[in-house]
């Protein structure tokens, strides 16, 4: 049951009753707005409340393909090329981000060109051209991505998607956001048109608007988007996520010189839950993304030079590979998972590194944080989190995600919760939700090496490590434990597969 919460901090232009968490007006459309009259730019985040979980069986990828064809296609009056010609001098772009639960159309424009941009953007959404040639172009891109990029030329993403498929086996979250090879191959333009008709309804549209937009824009949008069928939002029910039994390993073979590792397990909390916040803090201590503040980064890369980076996450985390290293917004999941990402390792060090990460995780569960570490980490997260929503578009995204979860504005809630925490709260939550015994592990290894690798893991063969340099006695002592750290591999649930066979159906 949702509690009524106050939306904090920002100027909100609402022409609707505030008694519900979602602002829903009489036409069924939802709006989330941040009005900043002094800003010359306007950000749009138009969410369609459908994602890969809405893909029909046998046509996995339909949601993503439809969305991409809308964002990269034409309108009734203009071809795709003509749309590009119009957007180009404004340096405007319309992007789409498809995820499991939602699909977000992202646009940004200088107010000088708002009228022309809005006209185009709304026409793409309300009357997409669905040109057969554009359909073919976009379909080819999606197929090629799965077959040539994900399977073959992006090992880190391959590791992550393999883990996702493992954690969410027999679950709507279990396919990639873009579907499967057979699913995409089976999709026709008529499928796309039908999906559009049934999914792109007023009930599913959630319009996010931020910046220096004129007062009447929201009214205009209400009027324009009421041309869509009313529809009805039908939440896709999610089954419970399969529990993990022991260490379940999938070894993925492909030609590669370095081995990528992703591991994790489901957790039963997300941003709406009180326990999420101490877990979030614990995770920052353990593996804050792309910083030297985390245990994993310091012990695996800093002290041992094993690889470029080692991080962990208390919820789904997409992107964060550029500068700044912050994740994409609008990738919410009702059912979350904890994960560890070890960036590609030298083959001879991979077994050791997996053990090292789990050794650290076990330490975290058994010993928790010291009071000092807790205080330092809390201070870090309180300050660092203030950098995450530096732009209006991101702030809007965070706000919409908070509404998805049914919670206060996340960054404010994080601040509030952290200030009330004690180290005991954090350590209790670690013990409750984290473990180092029942973990799913995905490893990408070189062709022909998979069986030996898995056999060594199953047999808990010792994996000693050699360093290029002298290391401290402390590390050497730890290594003696790590080299033989036993992993209770669940043989029945472990396998070697070829990358060529993944994401097929």
């Amino acid at each position: 049951m949702k509690t009524i919460t106050l939306l904090l901090a920002l100027t909100i232009v609402l022409m609707v009753p505030t008694s519900e968490l979602f602002a829903k007006d009489e036409t069924g459309l939802r709006f989330t707005t941040i009005s900043l009259p002094s800003s010359p730019l306007i950000a749009f985040r138009i969410i369609v409340r459908a994602g890969s979980i809405n893909d029909p069986k046998g046509k996995e990828g339909l949601n993503s393909l439809t969305a991409d064809l809308i964002a990269n296609g034409g309108t009734k009056d203009l071809t795709y090329s003509q749309v590009v010609d119009k957007l180009y001098p404004w340096a405007a772009s319309i992007d789409v981000q498809t995820d499991q639960e939602i699909t977000t159309f992202i646009g940004s424009i200088h107010r000088d060109h708002l009228d022309g941009f809005y006209k185009l953007f709304s026409e793409l959404l309300l009357g997409p051209r669905f040109d057969p040639a554009d359909f073919q172009r976009v379909k080819d891109l999606h197929l090629n991505y799965l077959q040539n990029t994900l399977r073959a030329t992006n090992d880190e993403e391959l590791g992550k998607q393999t883990l996702n498929a493992m954690i969410f086996v027999n679950h709507p979250y279990g396919t990639t956001e873009d579907g499967t090879v057979q699913g995409i191959s089976a999709i026709t333009l008529d499928d796309v048109k039908n999906y559009y008709k049934t999914t792109y309804t007023q009930a599913n549209f959630w319009i996010g608007l931020a910046g220096g937009y004129p007062d009447n824009l929201q009214e205009t949008m209400k009027k324009d988007f009421s041309s869509l069928p009313a529809g009805e939002f039908k939440e896709v029910p999610l089954p419970p996520v399969s529990p993990v039994k022991g260490m379940e390993v999938t070894v993925v073979e492909k030609p590669t010189r370095a081995y990528a590792v992703s591991m994790g397990f489901p957790i039963s909390i997300n941003r709406k839950d009180k326990d999420f916040y101490p877990l979030f803090l614990a995770n920052s201590y353990f593996g804050e993304h792309r910083t030297f503040t985390g245990v994993l980064m310091n012990h695996l890369r800093g002290e041992r030079g094993l690889n470029y980076g080692d991080y962990s996450y208390a919820e789904k985390f997409v992107g964060g590979l550029g500068q700044p290293p912050f994740p994409r917004v609008n990738t919410p999941l009702r059912q979350q998972f904890f994960s560890i990402w070890l960036r590609p390792l030298q083959p001879e060090n991979t077994h050791f590194a997996i053990r090292n990460a789990l050794f650290e995780l076990k330490n975290l569960v058994d010993k928790g944080l010291s009071t000092e570490d807790f205080e330092i980490t809390r201070k870090f997260v309180l300050n660092y989190s203030k950098l995450w929503a530096a732009t209006i578009s991101r702030r809007l995204g965070y706000k919409m995600d908070s509404e998805f979860y049914g919670t206060d504005y996340f960054i404010d809630r994080l601040d509030k919760e952290l200030r009330t925490l004690t180290v005991d709260d954090v350590n209790a939550v670690i013990r409750k939700y984290l473990n180092a015994s029942n973990v799913k592990i995905a490893v990408v290894v070189d062709e022909g090496k998979g069986k030996d690798f898995l056999d060594a893991m199953i047999a808990n063969t010792a994996s000693p490590i050699k360093y290029a340099s002298a290391v401290t006695q402390n590390i050497l002592d730890e290594d003696k434990l790590i080299e033989v750290f036993p992993l209770n591999i669940n043989k029945e649930q472990s396998r070697v597969v070829s990358a060529k066979d993944l994401f097929e159906k």
Partner: protein, 456 residues
Amino acid sequence: MEDTMFRCLTVLLLVFIPMVFAVALDESGQGKIFPYTINQVTLDNGLKIVSIPFESPGIVAYYTVVRTGSRNEVEPGKSGFAHFFEHMMFRGTEKFPEQKFNDILKSIGADNNAYTSDDQTIYHTVASAEALETIMQLESDRFMNLKYSEDAFKTEAGAILGEYNKNSSNPFQSIEEKIRDAAYTEHTYKHTTMGFLKDIENMPNQYQYSLEFFKRWYRPENCVVVVVGDFNQDKLIELAKKYYGAWEAGSYKLAVPAEPQQQAEIKIDLPWKSKTLPILALAYHVPACSDKDIDFAALNLLSLVTFGETSDLYRKLVVNDQLVEFVEGDMSENRDPGLFYVFTRVKDPKNINVVRDAIYGAFGNAATTKVSEEKLASIKSHVKYQFAMSLDNPDRVADEIAHYISITGDPESINRLYAMYDKVTPDDIMNVAKKYFAPTNRTVLLLTQEEKEVKQ
């Protein structure tokens, strides 16, 4: 696509917008593209402090630009060192050993990192404005007093190899390596910023050289501090004098060999073990980044005229005939003469030659047919709006300025360069198309799946 390869004018996907009042674009072309005040103060030791007030209450971006990159790696066996050294800069000093350095950054909740490319190494921090003095204390100390053991050095070499490894599944890393190695014979752009793998593998043995590297390049006359955001100018300069005043100037002069003119077309076949669609990459030698010579600006615009999303070639190859997934042209913005790249990924191997010929045809067309005034105006508008809209937070503003400082030494070059774009005429574009794209000036690389790979 992991694109740390080069700095170039591409069509960016814009999702950021300002949280505060940002530039109102001056459509008349009379005003400066960069609308903020740029303060410049040079200390006695040659260190320049560039500071730009920006409306980001409570936030400041602090960048240190070292005008040293992989370009500076002139000695054989030492490629990748500027980048390696960037890593070592996080390994501590006597006053602030590594753990303490990390702990302080952690306590202020800073976003702190660095990157290296051909011409520069950039150290960047974004944090609360209150933390400015702490940041200056840490930064000045490590730039002056960096101290790390040989063991720490050897351990870090593992992380460098790890970085090479994480890029290795992406064919574009290999493509870049091979093209540069072939296209350059003398100049240090011959190797990528990551360096040759054999040099990376030998890095653990280069401790003494790393100390030499620090002495040569980490000197006040070779560095510029850039501060953007919420700060007080007088206080900033006072702190700069306090913390950086004792930094001794150096005297090392670099002689980077000039690249002789390429005499003949170079062709490279690159077989790839993993499944892949064919990738065709072309590279042509072009002038260095310049805010005075029209050719550079014209070439940058040419990359959009001929290969941008609104170009005839793009329309033909991507949208209409659908022979390729994408095609793009990238003009590098380098301190010394760089490369103009064209990349495309072909959907069916049987169309490789057709696509290649279409690209050559597009160059030929650009050399004989003037782009319309209307199209050129659209492209200029795109370039200007793209830039203006990117200035939406202090981090991005600092990064843009840092880039131009590293190339020319002068932050004002950003305004001069964009003024050059305004001046470019259709004739200028035709002239550069004629001048720089002869077959003898090009390197052509074709990456294809190795034959013995089992087909899907």
